[in-house]
């Protein structure tokens, strides 16, 4: 069969092919990615969109957890101070119940107890980044208001709503306890217990009974405090889980879209060799035909 006398279009097509391969390999090497356009691998390109979404959510949950942790820790350490203050009140009550105490001594203790009461109100009105942590969701104003009576009556003006924050897909964490539940629970009302103690000390009444009531309020509060400990523990273990997931998502992203650098480098070498071979063929091609010998 007669051979096509003009091989140039074939050679140009071959040259184009090897240059295309060079371009693809160079792109992979420079971006470190094998999926640079959806057509490089349509399925993986779509999965990468979902992967990026999951990674964004994962990072978002981690960020939320650290925001929530600050609030939870503040509430937890505040309650710890409240329990310590109540312990101090109990100690003062026991001291006042001692028969050797004079009226003046008890008056002095009562003043000290009033100081503790103000400290307790102040602790119950603790805020984190401008938000009152024991106000339910009425975080913009102090939840406990003391009147001018001596000892003051303390009333709760917050609500009993609990906020939830997502810290995982379908995983919501309760992030607050309403102040009413912590400080004003009937039977364990912290402020009434301390008020009662002050009154009993002032009047030298049934101090022992009042001390017991403060102790009851303190134990109740300690039990409630476990909520914050639990929440912090959940946040911690979820952080560990999310960090593992983050790693897995990063690995998945690699599998889906990262370039195989060794393969890309070898492709590059191969395509450059092809280009050189084609160019060499083309340059030889033009030199030889019969006319050259007719001299």
């Amino acid at each position: 069969m007669r051979v096509n006398p003009n091989p140039m279009p074939d050679l140009l097509a071959a040259l184009n092919q090897s240059k295309l391969a060079t371009q693809q390999a160079t792109l992979e090497l420079s971006t470190d990615r094998s999926v640079n356009q959806p057509s490089d691998n349509p399925n993986n390109a779509a999965l990468l969109v979902v992967n990026n979404d999951q990674a964004t959510f994962n990072a978002g949950y981690l960020q939320s957890i650290s925001a929530v942790q600050g609030q939870l820790s503040t509430a937890d350490s505040t309650l710890s101070s409240v329990v310590a203050a109540l312990q101090q009140a109990t100690n003062l009550g026991i001291e006042a119940a001692n028969g050797t105490m004079s009226d003046a001594d008890r008056a002095a203790i009562a003043v000290e107890l009033q100081g503790i009461q103000s400290q307790l109100v102040s602790l119950a009105n603790s805020s984190y980044e401008g938000r009152f942590v024991f106000a339910g969701t009425m975080t913009d104003k102090a939840p406990f208001v003391a009147d001018n009576a001596i000892p003051p009556n303390v009333t709760y003006v917050g609500n009993a709503v609990v906020n939830k924050v997502s810290i995982g897909s379908g995983y919501q964490l309760n992030v607050n306890l309403p102040g009413s539940q912590l400080f004003s629970e009937p039977g364990s009302d912290v402020f009434s217990a301390v008020n009662n103690l002050i009154q009993q000390v002032q009047t030298n009444g049934d101090i022992a009974d009042a001390v017991t009531a403060v102790g009851t309020a303190s134990s109740y509060l300690s039990a409630q405090r476990a909520f914050y400990g639990n929440a912090l523990n959940q946040a911690d273990s979820q952080t560990t889980y999310l960090n593992t997931a983050k790693l897995q998502l990063a690995q998945q992203q690699n599998t889906l879209g990262a370039a195989d650098l060794a393969a890309a480098a070898s492709d590059l070498t191969q395509s450059q060799l092809n280009t050189q071979a084609t160019l060499a063929t083309m340059s030889k091609m033009t030199q030889n035909d019969l006319f050259d010998y007719l001299k």
Binding site: P5, N36, Q37, A45, M138
Partner: protein, 457 residues
């Protein structure tokens, strides 16, 4: 006619034929790189012998015709392969342009959707924080802007394609007019029994160019050729050409008209078919998916905001975040005050109870049965898959075209080696004939001077 003059006459025929053969070779060499040129070979035959008594004596050589070597079946296959290749290449170029809009998984609409929901998630621990609320509005506006830009880029590409289609139709008309005019010249030459090879080459080249644009098939007839598209529209009939026209039609794009018949949708090959396919199918398809996504997402988010209460009017349900929710192109963030995001489920400042309704939008299937992010991922898949498939088809089709061109080259291509060999052959034949002439001349001179020499001596 025998004797020395007869010999002279034979030698002269040889000289003349050798010259014409060398002219043919020269023409071949000259046109070695001419597109569409088919090499020519001289067809020579021995002259009719004459009877001289019982002998039959040759009368030299006759050039019967100069034949162009071409395979008409191959030309038809080449036309078809060209149509397919042009269609795929023009589709591919447009798809490659299209897919750049959807190339990144970490930016663009997909990432915007993820970032928007993440901004709401960040608002959840501190729902009254105005900075965090502003981030939500900023993320929403980035999302809306990217929807707008993508939709507008799609529209721009579509408008450019529309213009290209119009220009393509103009080129088709120019080519069909030229083909018809060449056909008239060919008929004239053939009626006068003259060689029309080079015009046939020209016509073949023009038809090949036309095949790059539209799906024509060639039907040879007694009155020249007829060119018709696959759906039967006649473009050229002998020396007459029939122009196509464009007319603004449904979809607000130019429709291709043959007379009053709309042939836009029935084109099956050539770059026009490729462009029409992208303009009328691919881009509107992606546009619809984008609109569905934008509409579904924005409507659901507005509905989520209406379920809660904002910081400004805690007694009334929240207002709209987005306006222009009918299409990706018109989507806009209408909310300017971050305090108006209805994070609260009960009107209290610190409540984040309604944010779960926003978060649920991310998990809720839209009208297409997919969640927002999966809807976007499937657009990415569709564009990538269409591009990748078209690219593979274009590669395969280009190989076919290349092989056909090789075959054509092996039949019609000019080989310089061959031409050089022919040249030697013709040159030698000419030299030999010239030698015969000089020998006959010398013999005739001898004959004229016969006996004269003896007298002189």
């Amino acid at each position: 006619m025998s004797g020395l003059f007869g010999t002279l006459s034979i030698a002269l025929s040889s000289l003349s034929v050798s010259q014409q053969e060398m002219a043919t070779t020269s023409n071949n060499v000259a046109n070695a790189n001419t597109t569409g040129y088919s090499r020519e070979v001289p067809d020579v035959a021995a002259g009719d012998p004459i009877a001289e008594g019982s002998l039959s004596v040759g009368t030299g050589v006759v050039l019967q015709k100069i034949e162009s070597l071409r395979d008409s079946i191959l030309e038809i296959q080449l036309n078809q392969a060209t149509q397919q290749q042009s269609q795929l290449n023009s589709s591919l170029a447009q798809l490659q342009q299209l897919q750049t809009q959807f190339a990144s998984s970490t930016s663009g609409i997909g990432a915007d959707i993820s970032n928007f929901f993440n901004s709401l998630q960040q608002l959840s621990p501190d729902p009254s924080n105005l900075n965090l609320r502003q981030s939500v509005l900023t993320a929403a506006s980035t999302l809306a802007t990217d929807f707008n830009n993508t939709a507008s880029n799609l529209q721009t590409q579509r408008s450019n394609l529309d213009l290209n289609v119009e220009q393509g139709v103009g080129q088709v008309n120019t080519l069909t007019a030229q083909i018809a005019s060449v056909d008239a010249q060919i008929s004239n030459l053939q009626n006068a029994h003259l060689d029309a090879s080079s015009l046939v080459d020209t016509q073949t080249t023009l038809i090949r160019q036309l095949s790059g644009l539209i799906d024509v098939s060639v039907i040879p007839t007694n009155q020249g050729i007829t060119l018709a598209t696959a759906n039967g529209t006649t473009l050229v009939s002998g020396s007459r050409s029939y122009a196509l026209s464009t007319q603004l039609g449904s979809g607000n794009v130019q429709h291709i008209m043959a007379g009053s018949q709309d042939i836009t949708a029935s084109l099956t090959g050539g770059s026009l078919a490729g462009m029409v396919q992208i303009r009328d199918q691919e881009i509107p398809g992606i546009g619809t998916s984008l609109d569905e996504l934008a509409t579904g997402l924005a409507t659901n988010l507005n509905a989520a905001n209406a379920k809660g209460f904002d910081l400004e009017n805690p007694s009334q349900p929240g207002g709209d975040i987005f306006s222009g929710t009918g299409a990706a192109a018109t989507l806009k963030v209408t909310m300017t005050d971050p305090a108006l995001i209805a994070a609260s489920s009960d009107g209290t400042t610190g409540s984040n109870g309604n944010l779960i309704n926003f978060a649920n939008v991310a998990e809720t299937a839209l009208g297409n049965g997919k969640t927002p992010i999966n809807s976007y991922a499937s657009i990415v898949f569709q564009v990538g898959n269409d591009t990748s498939n078209t690219s593979s088809s274009a590669d395969a089709s280009s190989l076919i075209l290349q092989q056909l061109q090789n075959q054509r080259g092996s039949i019609s291509g000019v080989s310089l080696d061959e031409e050089a060999a022919n040249l030697i052959q013709y040159q030698t034949a000419y030299q030999a004939a010239a030698r015969v002439v000089s020998t006959v001349n010398s013999l005739l001179s001898d004959a004229v001077n016969l006996g004269l020499g003896a007298a002189v001596q």
